[in-house]
């Protein structure tokens, strides 16, 4: 009797509003039971999973039995969703990028032979002398000499800017020459850039011919001088003619020119050595990258 009374009293403890809320919660719980059941079966009972990757010899679905004791190890299934395992072979009909933007190398055996000569000269002559020179002459001075060399070549740049109707480039190249030759102590310093922000506008006869539509022709490699195309090689003769140093046909001036060119190489010696060590076929790399850079310069 007592217990019945208690039950009756207990049921009277809830208001009708609370009873409704409880009923709603119960309904929600019942509705979500299938979801919980799925989760529980996933995590604690058993499930079908791809175990580790990509081995078609393995069963695709592996049934794992879980022991109730403390787990010793945790396996995280790796499911590869990408369908990338279709075996395929090279497409021999597809167009090649090198046919579109690469350079023709019709005299490759000659070029490679010249490159070997250059490599020999670099290893046994240029590199040791450069290292000695770099040890004695500070980089500050070497960079100054390099700027002087650049400054002297102003006529070539200004003239070719004019030939390509790049008026701004021609004007700035000439102004740079005036400022750097005077305030910059014959080009040893570059106040034109430092003070006035005047950038370089590099143009040569090879670029002029390219903008006029002259085809590049084959790639040519010349020891100590480097990479050219037939067009650029021929044009470089005109570039040399525009160099004021060559107007004075006396040996000491030639000596100065050679010294300045050598000085320029010494500034790049580390990069050249780094490239020689890094690539298997340095010739191909040098040819392709030089031509990429050359066409980019022409397009500027």
């Amino acid at each position: 009797m007592i217990s019945r009374k208690r039950i009756k009293n207990t049921t009277n403890l809830f208001t009708s509003y609370e009873k409704n809320v409880c009923a709603l919660c119960l309904l929600l719980f019942i509705a979500t039971v299938p979801l919980y059941a799925g989760k529980l079966s996933d995590n604690t009972l058993s499930r079908k999973v791809h175990i580790i990757p990509n081995n078609e010899e393995l069963p695709k679905n592996h049934h794992i039995k879980i022991e109730k004791k403390t787990p010793q190890i945790v396996i995280i299934p790796y499911v590869d969703k990408e369908n990338i395992y279709i075996d395929n072979l090279p497409d021999y009909n597809a167009p090649l990028l090198s046919d579109k933007i690469g350079v023709s190398d019709s005299i490759e055996p000659f070029n490679r032979a010249m490159f070997k000569v250059d490599d020999f000269l670099f290893v046994y002559l240029i590199s040791p002398i450069s290292k000695g020179y770099n040890f004695i002459v500070p980089q500050y001075f070497r960079k100054g000499i390099s700027r002087m060399d650049y400054n002297i070549e102003m006529p070539k740049r200004s003239f070719n800017n004019l030939l390509q109707a790049k008026w701004k480039g021609a004007g700035i190249s000439f102004s740079r020459f005036l400022v750097n030759s005077t305030i910059g102590l014959a080009g040893f310093y570059d106040p034109a850039k430092a003070w006035f922000g005047w950038e370089k506008y590099d143009e040569d006869f090879g670029q002029t011919l390219a903008t006029w539509g002259v085809a590049p022709g084959s790639y040519v490699y010349i020891p100590l001088l480097g990479s050219y195309t037939v067009r650029d090689g021929l044009a470089s003769i005109l570039d040399m003619a525009m160099d004021p140093r060559n107007a004075l046909i006396i040996t000491p001036v030639y000596g100065v020119t050679v010294f300045m060119k050598f000085n320029n190489i010494t500034l790049k010696i580390d990069v050249i050595e780094q490239l020689r060590e890094s690539y298997y076929d340095t010739y191909s790399l040098k040819r392709d990258f030089w031509y990429m850079k050359r066409t980019a310069d022409i397009a500027k």
């Binding site: 995590n43 004791k69 995280i76 590869d80 395992y85 090279p90 990028l97 298997y280």
Partner: protein
């Protein structure tokens, strides 16, 4: 019973929040998406060129019967005994690369000695230290690298003193990171070197997926007109000549152009590698023979070979004696990817991984999987794509922390919804390990 389940649930939740992989925001990093960000990798330069020149270049004989080709490594030694950080660069990277040298410079300036060896997927490693000449199958590449490292470390210790390296840390990035993690697996079994730490920066999880991505990127040019190809090439040249200093300036390039630049760079590496393989061994795949005087036609034939083609031709030919002629690429890729060494990744507390949340070499599932396996030994950087974070000071700070063994806790939570606890290693896992061990046993360093 209900209380017990609640406790278990709370424990999982607590564990996830406490030990989940961390995500760190890169300070001062102007992100332009993962592809353009990746190009910022080239902005990591050696600060002092004298450092580049000061490295001691040494060579060791790794292949028993080959006296002509020795493996070259580069070493920077502190004046007194100091931890040695060994760097394995990414795909195609060699000991003279700018980026690994720049990393070595950072570590050296922090007081460590540094050593760089070439990646197994580079022309000089494959000619001087690869047991099979054809790189790309990670278990064997890693074993080759492990054997080479053993010889290299002994050589350095013989030359400069046995106690000069109180600690040895192996750090790799990209494919070098994948190799590093496989080496961690080998080192835990063979215990020849006993590395103190393994740091992997941006490893691919599924190798073939990563290589496939590179193929896709390269092939973008096929949809472009010639002007667009020229324009992209010119932009790439400009970026190489004018790399942004610390990734704070926007790069003048679109995502598609960046993808192409990435694909083109990696395709060049593959071409170099195939050329080196072809110079040494004829697999019957290329029609044009290797000549020292003229290679342009050969280069055109090689240009047709994608990474996927390479795996399907050169690797298949090279490994058919191990796996039989009819083994599939899927099997090869499975054994060469991170899930094959997941038990080592789960249990080896010496391993640290740093990745980005937007690396295109990973799928979302890869990221989730990595997070679940590595927990607080994994750090995600919020930007950088693939390796585009190297020059960021925040990233560098965390790389140093990883080297020191820090764990990355409590910044974000992972969801271990796919974790299945089991009491024993399951059969298929055993099969993978057996497969790997069989591969390793069959590798002979005598070519």
């Amino acid at each position: 019973m209900i209380n017990f389940k609640l406790k278990i649930f709370s424990l999982f939740l607590f564990t996830n929040i406490l030990f989940g992989a961390a995500t760190v925001k890169l300070d001062g990093y102007l992100s332009q998406g993962p592809y353009i960000d990746t190009l910022r990798y080239v902005s990591l330069k050696v600060k002092d060129w004298n450092f580049f020149k000061d490295g001691k270049i040494r060579s060791v004989k790794v292949i028993k019967n080959d006296d002509d080709n020795k493996l070259i490594y580069k070493l920077w030694l502190q004046d007194k005994p100091a931890p040695l950080i060994i760097i394995i660069p990414g795909l195609g990277g060699n000991y003279a690369g700018i980026a690994p040298t720049a990393l070595a410079e950072i570590f050296f300036n922090k007081g460590s000695s540094a050593l760089i060896i070439s990646n197994p997927f580079s022309w000089d490693f494959l000619l001087s230290a690869s047991s099979r000449i054809t790189p790309g199958y990670t278990p064997v590449d890693a074993l080759d690298a492990y054997n080479a490292l053993d010889i290299v470390i002994k050589d350095a210790e013989n030359k400069y003193g046995t106690n000069i390296f109180p600690r040895k840390i192996l750090l790799g990035y990209s494919l070098g990171a994948l190799d590093t993690l496989f080496i961690a697996d080998i080192d835990s079994k063979e215990k020849k070197i006993n590395f103190d730490r393994f740091v992997a920066l941006s490893p691919p999880v599924n190798l073939l997926y990563g290589l496939n991505q590179l193929d896709h990127f390269y092939n973008i040019w096929r949809k472009w007109p010639l002007e667009k190809i020229e324009q992209t090439k010119n932009k790439a040249v400009y970026l190489i000549e004018n790399p942004t200093p610390i990734g704070t300036n926007a790069l003048p390039i679109t995502s598609d152009e960046a993808k192409f630049a990435i694909g083109y760079t990696f395709r060049n590496i593959l071409e170099e590698t195939i050329k080196a393989i072809h110079s040494r061994k004829f697999f019957g795949i290329l029609n044009i023979p290797f000549k020292s005087s003229s290679r342009q036609e050969l280069e055109k034939e090689i240009e047709r070979i994608s990474y996927k083609n390479y795996v399907n031709t050169f690797l298949r030919a090279s490994y058919s004696d191990l796996f039989g002629r009819n083994f599939s690429i899927k099997k090869l890729s499975g054994n060469a990817s991170l899930p094959a060494i997941q038990i080592t990744l789960l249990t080896n507390q010496k391993i640290r991984i740093i990745h980005t949340t937007d690396d295109f070499l990973l799928t979302n599932y890869d990221r989730e999987w990595l997070e679940q396996v590595m927990g607080d030994r994994l750090l995600f950087l919020n930007h950088g794509g693939h390796l585009g974070y190297f020059n960021n000071p925040t990233a560098q700070k965390y790389i140093i922390k990883a080297i020191k063994g820090a764990k990355f806790k409590n910044i974000s939570s992972s969801k271990n919804k796919n974790i299945i606890p089991v009491s024993n290693i399951i059969d298929s896992e055993k099969q993978i390990i057996d497969d790997f061990n069989r591969t390793v046993k069959n590798v002979d360093v005598t070519r």
